[in-house]
């Protein structure tokens, strides 16, 4: 395998990219309905602590994942109420959710006489196939050697893509994101559609957070997800609001992040590259992509929903 270090780097990149894919696809679904949710980082952290807590207490990974999904949806209700019902500024509302969720996750991890912090998870996600075909060259590590959630991620991308672009419901969602007034006159309940899709986005963010706590970093620590929630918001643009592309940009970023660690172990001259500079690359790429591909009218061309971030006043039709 040593000669194939880049194969294992890609394989690990897929693992690191999977939580990003969940959160990015979730945010795409939310934004397609016209709501910008900057609360992804906080939602992921709440999902992470909730999933870790449930698995820690029950030993069940399934219950951990379900709890994370429910917790992610539950905290994103805050953003839904503020931005849809109360029509406040979505940027401030999303930041409020991130701040609250970050504090809440740390708080829940540390509070009480027997805190979670420092505890290893009672169960972790492992590859579903060990040995045998999972050791075949190339296909083994790249395709067959992953844990179940990696495949759930692929299915999620396929399902989200079908839902948004091939189904009648998805057409309604995109109509709400493009032109809510027309959608409303076509008989679509704009507020309801937006509520549902903020919650779907939140549940996928929660799931992404749980993947960190139950697969990537299976010991509870204060900040298990790094800046994943913020990266996901950038990936939405790089994926031009399309779920399949989200899966692949997320894998690419996972690969870049793992490469950053890998370079340190490769010896001269690779280990001379400061990791702090490598860590900037995703963000620099996102900005360049924003400027080159998503400036002004091009953002529409790329797929940005026209009504993204704009509160909808039913009375003002």
């Amino acid at each position: 395998m040593n000669d194939w270090w880049w194969v294992s780097t890609v394989a690990f990149g897929i693992g690191l990219g999977t939580p990003l894919a969940f959160a990015t696809i979730g945010e795409i679904i939310t934004e397609r309905a016209g709501i910008l949710n900057l609360g992804v980082q906080g939602t992921m952290l709440v999902g992470a602590v909730a999933g870790f807590w449930a698995t820690f207490n029950t030993g069940s990974l399934f219950l951990g994942v379900i709890t994370a999904i429910v917790a992610g949806a539950a905290v994103s209700i805050i953003h839904a109420v503020l931005s849809i019902t109360l029509r406040v500024n979505q940027i401030v509302s999303g930041l409020a959710l991130t701040l609250f969720g970050t504090g809440l996750a740390s708080f829940l991890g540390k509070v009480g006489s027997d805190p979670l912090v420092g505890e290893p998870s009672r169960a972790t996600f492992e590859p579903i196939i060990e040995g045998g075909i999972a050791e075949w060259p190339l296909v083994g590590p790249l395709v067959l050697g992953h844990d179940i959630l990696v495949y759930v991620g692929v299915v999620t991308a396929a399902a989200a893509s079908y839902y948004l672009f091939r189904s009648k419901l998805g057409l309604a969602v995109r109509a709400v994101g493009e032109d809510p007034a027309s959608a409303e006159s076509a008989g679509i309940n704009v507020s309801r559609v937006r509520y549902i899709h903020v919650l779907i986005g939140g549940s996928l963010s929660g799931l992404g957070g749980a993947y960190f706590a139950l697969a990537l970093v299976p010991t509870w620590q204060d900040d298990p997800i790094g800046a994943a929630g913020w990266i996901a918001i950038a990936l939405v643009i790089l994926a031009s609001w399309r779920p399949w592309r989200a899966l692949f940009v997320a894998y690419a970023f996972g690969f870049a992040q793992f490469l950053e660690l890998r370079l340190q172990t490769l010896g001269e001259p690779w280990n001379g590259i400061p990791s702090t500079l490598l860590a900037m690359i995703p963000f620099v790429l996102a900005i360049i992509a924003m400027i080159v591909f998503a400036s002004g009218k091009r953002a529409r061309f790329l797929g940005a929903p026209a009504a993204l971030g704009i509160p909808y006043f039913r009375e003002q039709r």
Partner: protein, 370 residues
């Protein structure tokens, strides 16, 4: 569907009492929510809040530490307020603050020990403003000339700035790094001449400078022609164009001013309590907290000062909670809750909610529906 639904209608001008009561009510509601969380997890809310007040205001040292924490928050709060007023969504105060700190520390180190305080101190402080505006320009110029959404670019620039600061200290032998310390890398101290003098425990005159800047921003935004034009454009870019205001230049100006204010926060922090480009003292989310400060102060530059003191008190009281076994992040959670209630309160400032009258007849029913 008519009948049981509440009626929401825009409330022209809100009364001054309401403008004060809503933020106070949101702080109170957040404290109640926090108390519920604390009680559910087996802590004593009264003891926790008592400890927090004691840590923040209990003695001279507490008060001075609270005001030290408030100083950068006044500046990052002003940065957010100035930008948001014109619907410029600069959420990059965090990165602009860090670049202010990088420029300020760089200027101090470059000037060296021989420079008199009368020159070194103003130069270091101004260098921070330039650094903040410089970092803001990477989002401001694409926004103004290409129409690039600044929310995402400013957000991304925060992480680049953070990694760049870490690179200067941890990843390289830059002039910012202290060559005398070989174990754990640290920032090289800026010369004493560039440091703002202290007058009350560790509290330096930075708090006074920050308060004066708040007044200056108030005068600029509310009393000057420039500020008037900014408010016109903020209300409607279309109106601004018809009134002959150069809208792109106004947006650029506001964006760079916002960056400069955040950068000043960085330089006051470096020239004040921190004294070096020290990542552990600077990477505290002060730019993000500034957005809460601005939102709670309803973008009013003068109200930002007391709100920043409140947030500084909260920041400062977090570590004290550890001594009674309560996570310091309780404070972050409370700040988030305060912001959630404050933005929800905006709705009640802007709108009046009332019950529909029973069995509305004829014309009044039509009015209610309109």
């Amino acid at each position: 569907m008519a009948g049981r639904r509440l009626i929401v209608e825009p409330r022209g001008l809100a009364s001054p009492l309401l403008l004060v009561m809503v933020p106070l009510a949101s702080v109170f509601a957040a404290l109640v929510l926090g108390a519920i969380f604390l009680a559910l997890t087996g802590e004593n809310p009264g003891e926790v809040y008592g400890k927090m007040v004691d840590a923040a205001f209990g003695d001279g040292r507490g008060i001075s530490e609270t005001l030290i924490s408030a100083t950068p928050l006044i500046l990052t709060g002003l940065a957010a307020a100035v930008a948001f007023k014109m619907l410029v969504w600069n959420i990059g105060a965090e990165g602009q603050f860090l670049f202010g700190a990088i420029f300020a520390a760089g200027a101090g180190i470059w000037l060296g020990d021989g420079t008199p305080a009368a020159i070194a101190m103003p130069l270091v402080i101004v260098a921070g403003a330039i650094g903040g505006a410089f970092w803001a320009s990477f989002a401001a110029v694409p926004r103004v000339y290409l129409g690039t959404n600044e929310i995402i670019t400013t957000l991304m620039l925060n992480f680049i700035a953070l990694n760049f600061m870490n690179y200067l200290i941890f990843g390289s032998n830059s002039p910012w790094r202290d060559p005398g310390v070989s174990t754990f890398p640290q920032g090289r101290p800026v010369p004493d001449a560039a440091r703002i003098p202290e007058f009350f425990n560790r509290l330096d005159y930075g708090i006074i400078i920050a308060a004066f800047i708040a007044i200056a921003v108030y005068v600029l935004m509310d009393k000057s022609r420039w500020g008037f034009e900014v408010r016109v454009v903020g209300d409607s870019a279309e109106t601004g164009r018809y009134a002959g205001i150069g809208v792109p230049r106004k947006i650029l100006g506001v964006f760079l001013l916002s960056g400069a204010l955040a950068g000043l926060g960085g330089s006051l922090f470096v020239a004040g309590p921190v004294g070096a480009l020290d990542p552990r003292s600077l990477d505290l989310g002060l730019g993000f907290t500034g957005i809460i400060v601005a939102a709670l102060a309803r973008l009013n530059p003068l109200a930002i000062v007391p709100v920043a003191v409140l947030m500084g008190a909260l920041n400062n009281s977090g570590p004290a909670l550890q001594s009674i076994g309560v996570p310091p992040e309780t404070v972050t959670m409370l700040q988030g809750a305060i912001l959630i209630f404050a933005v929800a309160g905006e709705f009640f400032i802007a709108n009046r909610v009332r019950r529909p009258e029973l069995e509305p007849t004829g014309s009044s029913a039509a009015e209610a529906a309109a």
